[in-house]
Symmetry: C3
Subunit: 350 residues, 3 copies
């Protein structure tokens, strides 16, 4: 990584926003912090995109996308564990909802739209699209069934049911990794495309992906801490902040990485980041939080509100309908974004 | 257009039914008017079918079907605007519901069934089927989300939400026209088939389509005016009349045009008339009525009843399931008609 | 059928369990009966599988599977008619629900999983998968619409509505047989595969299938009679016993036949047994029971509980999502089984 303009911008903006966050100097008002963090997130997003691209060169679109999604979600998992410890289940569920619909609708929508403006049609592995749908459906079923039965069960039975469902989801997710990364890896791979020379060697690429993810995690955290106070100034509800603002800003870097991939006609990687990340949250992060809550002795269940289930269900349906043919274009992006706006306005008003 | 038997029958029956409608002579009882209008609608339907076919010869199946659907819906839009002005929102929503399910189930069902009796398998563009599904899903989401959130919002918030959703739907529909008629026109076109000589020149065909549509609009209006009084004699409910009788009789001519196309193995045009018309009503006519209601200062919202949403959702699901492979046969028509009958009986009994 | 070890085991275990059931000797405790019946069901299941395979050799996978499903359901229909006569509608509906989700999730899931462990990918006719989805959707609509409208109708109107819907479903099912077995038989057939020499001649095969089915019906009945008393000892609810235990044990033989077919790479026959059997129950057995109840003068309606409709809807959705590409593997089996477990636990807790 040479010390060119990009690298300097990245380091300066990152360090400045760190200083602004940790040193409570009077001239670092929330608004100043917010502006600095916004500039920095653009740089770290670019860095993450570059690292993902370089890893994808060696590992294939899917593994690259998977690593990107996993690193991104690891940060969110850690933050959520602290919230679970404090018993703030409502905010945790709102942010899970927000991450899922944000990835399925906004990230995927922007990727398809902006990728589609450049390329008339983009293709990815249709088998993968079909599995993504089935897994997303499993996630919806795992939200829907506990909610339907919730009122007929005692609080203790609900907790026990959520615990068992969580274990089943984690097993299903781990078997999915076994299936998609080992036993049927080739059936789910994208066609190999030549992408020219990568920026870094294999080892450096993975290291850079790790470094970029850590920087994204910190920068996101700093940005989120400012956005909350800014948002409250405008009188926005907790639900809207949790499910939309934090989800958007907190995932801004991953979002940019997906769009960047789409603009380079690597739509397979973009889909993996967007849909793969949603699946990981629904089938792994969310159940792990339930398990963790039991260890803390204050069990969280999987019973989401009607609005949250409706939002996730709607997002899964339209994403499935659009992605199932393994071909994408700008108009499919428009449809996803329109649905995201409809849900966003509903959550804003409620 | 030569003065053959068909033309004479068309003109005589049309003029007779006009006379019966406007001149309140004692021997023109409602029953007589009803019978004359029924004969006339068969002739104008045949005329509209012929005009659609001739336009489709020049413009391709899809544009021909689109023009047919648009002209047909224009008449319905005008009638509905008057109802909105009078604040009769319940009847407007019932007739929107009736038009959508009538087109998706009855028109499409009869076209597939009667077309399928003649041809073992009929094919249309599979890409188009896939977009039709996604757009119909968007329409369902736009009905479902406002209904879910309705009880948690004030009446003013509901109106505002419906207004924004309406604007989003209109934007999505206009972009769909841009996408399907301009940027990705060829991907959505049916295979070119030779259909022999058209009846008229290009200009005359368009003129005839326009004339036929105007005749259909008037004849439908006259027929509807008789059917209401006939129906009330048999003690049928407003909801059933609005959602079924008016929708069937009022769209009789378009229905016949779709069936006629199917019988000539132009199933692409038939699907465009049926599904395209549903989409236009859900994504354009219905939101425009919401906008118009705001101009009248008496805002109508998009909150439909549970029965109406269930009916539209069920119709969209089965139509999607059946049409998604781009191939049709008689049994798929049977399935659609069976679902239409189940819904019809439910609305009749309720 | 030569008197080899298998035949001897089959006859001895069957006769022993018959003796245990009918002769109330003191040493034939319920537990002893249960163990004998379990051994016997393994033998009759093997016999049924062998007979199905032999018939399928002559008739093709689908007709063989259809005969297997029909014979299996005939026994259940007869048992249910006696329950309807006694007005035990709740248990009848629970067992209908259990049979449908048991076939769609457990039988199909085990077949795909165990077949998939042996073969990397198994294929069946994709057209058939598409029709199966549409028919299952019709079945769901026929459960959903009466339930939605139920509270707005009088008890008499509900019965009348259920009666009409039942007639429509039976008509749709008979037309489906006409379509799939006569007019479009070839379009829905699986590719012909050479399977070596069949065990019996054509006539003997059909006779053996009949004999095996009768043995299965009796053995299932005997096993079910013991399982109920065993289950009650463990304090299980009626709903759980009806929808899960009886459905699993009562269909154990058919289940084994499907798995056996899958292990021989005849996944088309396995799908036909599992999905075809579900469809037959939903579209034929269940409506016939409604009709029969009217003849008994004590009308049963089609209004199922929310839990039952949710379970059937969820099962239909995931089965559709997984089977729609006509290709199967072990992980798709895992997904179906996970959903079955989630539903099973929910019904167990409620």
């Amino acid at each position: 990584m040479k010390l060119n303009g990009f690298t300097i911008g990245l380091l300066v903006s990152f360090i400045l926003s760190a200083v602004a966050h940790y040193i409570k100097a009077p001239f670092f008002t929330t608004t100043v912090q917010f502006i600095i963090s916004c500039i920095a997130i653009i740089f770290v997003a670019g860095f993450l995109g570059k690292a993902t691209e370089s890893v994808a060169h060696y590992s294939g679109e899917r593994l690259g996308g998977f690593l990107n999604a996993t690193f991104g979600n690891a940060a969110e998992l850690i933050i959520s564990i602290f919230l679970v410890k404090d018993g703030m289940f409502g905010i945790v569920k709102a942010s899970i909802t927000g991450s899922i619909i944000g990835n399925l609708l906004l990230v995927l929508g922007l990727s398809l739209f902006l990728g589609g403006l450049k390329f008339k049609e983009q293709k990815f592995n249709q088998n993968l699209a079909s599995y993504n749908s089935s897994l997303m459906l499993l996630a919806c079923i795992a939200l829907f069934v506990p909610a339907i039965f919730a009122s007929s069960l005692t609080s203790h039975e609900n907790s026990r049911f959520s615990l068992i469902v969580s274990v089943l989801l984690i097993v299903a997710y781990l078997l999915w990794l076994l299936f998609s990364m080992v036993t049927h890896k080739n059936e789910l791979a994208d066609e190999v495309v030549e992408h020219g020379e990568p920026a870094w060697s294999k080892g450096t690429s993975i290291l850079m992906l790790f470094v970029a993810t850590v920087m994204v995690a910190f920068e996101s955290e700093w940005l989120v801490s400012t956005i909350e106070s800014v948002a409250h100034q405008f009188g926005l509800s907790e639900l809207f902040i949790g499910a939309f603002l934090i989800a958007i800003i907190g995932n801004a870097a991953e979002h940019s990485a997906a769009v960047l991939m789409a603009r380079k006609n690597r739509i397979g990687a973009a889909v993996e980041i967007a849909v793969g990340s949603s699946l990981q949250i629904a089938l792994f992060v969310s159940p792990v939080l339930v398990l963790v809550s039991f260890l803390f002795g204050n069990p969280m269940n999987l019973v989401f509100t009607t609005f949250e289930i409706a939002a996730i269900g709607v997002a899964a349906l339209i994403a499935k309908s659009i992605s199932q043919d393994g071909r994408t274009n700008w108009y499919e992006g428009v449809l996803l974004i329109v649905v995201y706006l409809i849900l966003g306005i509903a959550f804003f008003l409620v």
